[in-house]
């Protein structure tokens, strides 16, 4: 009985498989392989195109592997590709993105973790109402809030600056992160908290000495969520960061979609891969934690 419950919690369900080469299995694996082919194709084409010289790209077939592998497009994409105004490549955008990413991730997670902890153990009158408003806010289209936020940032002297984008990322990351931490802390046994209270520990001490050490996994999930989310952002970067601080996604779009000059498809694909590299690496390394992050945000929400 215990074993069957355990199996019910994890591992595949479905009817039991029959013979290995039944018609059912052929259909099943056929479907999965066709789907996997469709999903992998763009990644493959990106890689192959980025390693070809421009004449080969123009001559050949996008699926054919490069006859002569060249890293020129990668170097050009990183170092000298033009965005219409400047020809400094993606590296500027990369460092801007890093400068946006690190403070945004750290600040938003710090605020949200304390907040989730307060909402689980230190509720006060109205705390749930504010939290509900916050969650509703996650569904409001950004377009509704774009302009008033421009005004607020301008008043704070942060418009068109890195600080401005960081603040915006903290604001829009807050609902999902707070939800994530609140749900996690809600699963911590209340007795633990009460025991610490009896021993005379206060709000911050309980957080730092008891809650933090036991919540490292959820911090990892939150970091994955924020790193991929902030790195991939385009809208906030283009509006709030100002031309000199454009993040990588904005620069990428400017490089690829400039109308002037010859279209260098190989450089474009190298630039696209460079921009997608960080979230992809995070995704492939984190594996199940990534899924857990989106599932925690999505299903429980």
């Amino acid at each position: 009985m215990v074993k069957s419950i355990h199996e019910g919690m994890q591992g595949p369900h479905g009817p039991k498989p029959k013979k290995s080469l039944s018609a059912r299995n052929i259909v099943l694996y056929g479907f999965l392989l066709v789907a996997a082919f469709y999903w992998l194709l763009p990644l493959y084409v990106m890689i192959v195109t980025s390693l070809k010289g421009l004449p080969e790209v123009r001559m050949g077939n996008i699926f054919s592997p490069p006859m002569e592998i060249t890293f020129e497009p990668w170097i050009k994409a990183w170092d000298t590709a033009c965005t219409g105004l400047y020809c400094e490549g993606l590296k500027v955008g990369f460092w801007n993105s890093v400068k946006i990413l690190i403070p945004s991730t750290v600040i938003s997670i710090a605020i949200a973790s304390v907040n989730g902890y307060a909402l689980s153990f230190w509720r006060f009158k109205g705390s749930e109402i504010f939290f509900t408003i916050l969650l509703f806010g996650a569904f409001i289209p950004y377009q509704v809030m774009l302009y008033p936020l421009v005004i607020i940032l301008r008043e704070l002297g942060l418009f068109s600056s890195l600080g401005g984008v960081v603040l915006i990322h903290c604001i829009f990351g807050m609902p999902i992160l707070t939800l994530l931490f609140r749900n996690y802390f809600a699963s911590v046994p209340e007795e633990l908290f009460k025991a610490a209270r009896v021993d005379g520990a206060g709000f911050w001490r309980i957080f730092a000495q008891i809650m933090l050490p036991m919540s490292l996994p959820i911090f990892v999930v939150a970091i994955i969520l924020q790193v991929t989310g902030i790195w991939n952002d385009f809208l906030f970067g283009i509006i709030y960061s100002g031309t000199t601080n454009f993040p990588m996604t904005v620069q990428l779009n400017n490089i690829v979609n400039t109308t002037q000059g010859v279209k260098e498809y190989n450089v474009n694909m190298a630039a696209t891969l460079l921009t997608g590299a960080l979230p992809l690496v995070v995704y492939f390394i984190s594996g199940k934690l990534f899924v857990r992050g989106i599932a925690a945000g999505a299903v429980k929400g």
Binding site: Q10, I62, Q143, V144, Y283
Partner: protein
């Protein structure tokens, strides 16, 4: 649900000490910790939305001005052919994404739930685009759908020499390019959610249906899917709120073209707000977007909360 013990404990403690702290100062650390949340909720979300709705009734151009014009901005909006195209496009995009990502995502989840080999590999493959930026997705598909060198050329090379596939510069079909790219990116998420839902179903269902001799497809259709209703509804809400927000994908893939034929509401708002300096018009459009989202959201929230309440009482 936990009781807010802490309040009364603090109160008891300070009462024992002989001085009672004023109500506002009780549980002070938690209140300070919640200040960012309160600010974001009230100023950020509520305040900004109210501001936008308020100024959507003005004739503001590049700067907000309190010159009220009633519903004039809305009348102009609904008369604008560009807005009508945007709404049509978001409808096409929405219906296609919902139908295809739900069916394909569910089928993939079912396939992965058959005790197959390499389950992790397949799952990783289907979900990786979700980690990518919409800009990256848009640019890759722009290249794949390139009329000169893209997939079209491959088909010509196979032997169909007259083959033409020019979705991106076709006024009718450009929006479907966005659908294809969006599905590539988003279906993995649906699959992951559905798989989690399937794994949450009681395994005895399968034993029972096997004993009764019910074929697997009928078990899925008539027993499993109805049981997964909450998962479907949550997924639906997530996809729907994503559909309203689509912006980057269009910017990267078609830039709204050709000739504005693949415009979407989010881009309409952005263009009028920052490109054309017609704030009143942009805010009217964003208010319409907000109302649409609320129409989806409120019934769902009502269902969710009433279910939870029933579960607690029953």
């Amino acid at each position: 649900m936990k009781e807010p013990v802490s309040n009364s404990e603090v109160a008891v403690k300070s009462a024992l000490k002989g001085r009672r702290r004023p109500k506002l100062l009780r549980n002070l650390a938690a209140k300070i910790a919640a200040v960012p949340m309160i600010l974001v909720a009230l100023v950020g979300f509520v305040g900004c939305s109210v501001w936008s709705i308020f100024y959507s009734f003005t004739s503001s151009k590049s700067l907000p001005k309190e010159r009220f014009v009633g519903f004039a901005q809305y009348e102009r909006l609904f008369d604008s052919s560009r807005w009508q195209t945007s709404v049509e496009n978001v409808a096409i995009y929405g219906v296609c994404s919902l139908v295809f990502s739900l069916t394909i995502g569910f089928l993939l989840a079912v396939a992965l739930d058959q005790k197959i080999r390499f389950e992790n590999t397949f799952r990783t493959i289907f979900l990786y685009p979700f980690a990518l930026s919409f800009i990256v997705t848009g640019l890759v598909w722009q290249w794949l759908l390139n009329a000169e060198f893209g997939i079209a050329q491959v088909i010509r090379d196979i032997g169909f020499s007259g083959f033409e596939m020019n979705i991106l510069s076709n006024r009718e079909y450009a929006i479907y390019a966005i659908v294809i790219a969006g599905l590539w990116q988003g279906t993995g998420l649906v699959m992951a959610l559905m798989l989690a839902g399937l794994r949450g179903i009681d395994q005895d269902i399968w034993k029972a249906s096997r004993v009764d001799g019910i074929p697997a497809w009928r078990t899925y259709l008539f027993i499993v899917i109805p049981m997964m209703k909450p998962v479907f509804i949550t997924t639906l809400v997530i996809i729907a709120s994503g559909i309203v927000k689509v912006f980057d994908l269009v910017v990267a893939l078609t830039a709204g073209g050709p000739g504005g034929s693949s415009e979407l509401p989010a881009k309409y708002v952005y263009d009028y707000m920052f490109g054309r300096a017609n704030l009143g018009q942009a805010l009217a459009a964003s208010t319409v977007m907000l109302i649409t989202v609320l129409i989806i959201l409120i019934p769902w929230a009502y269902l969710e909360f009433s279910q939870k309440r029933n579960a607690k009482h029953g």
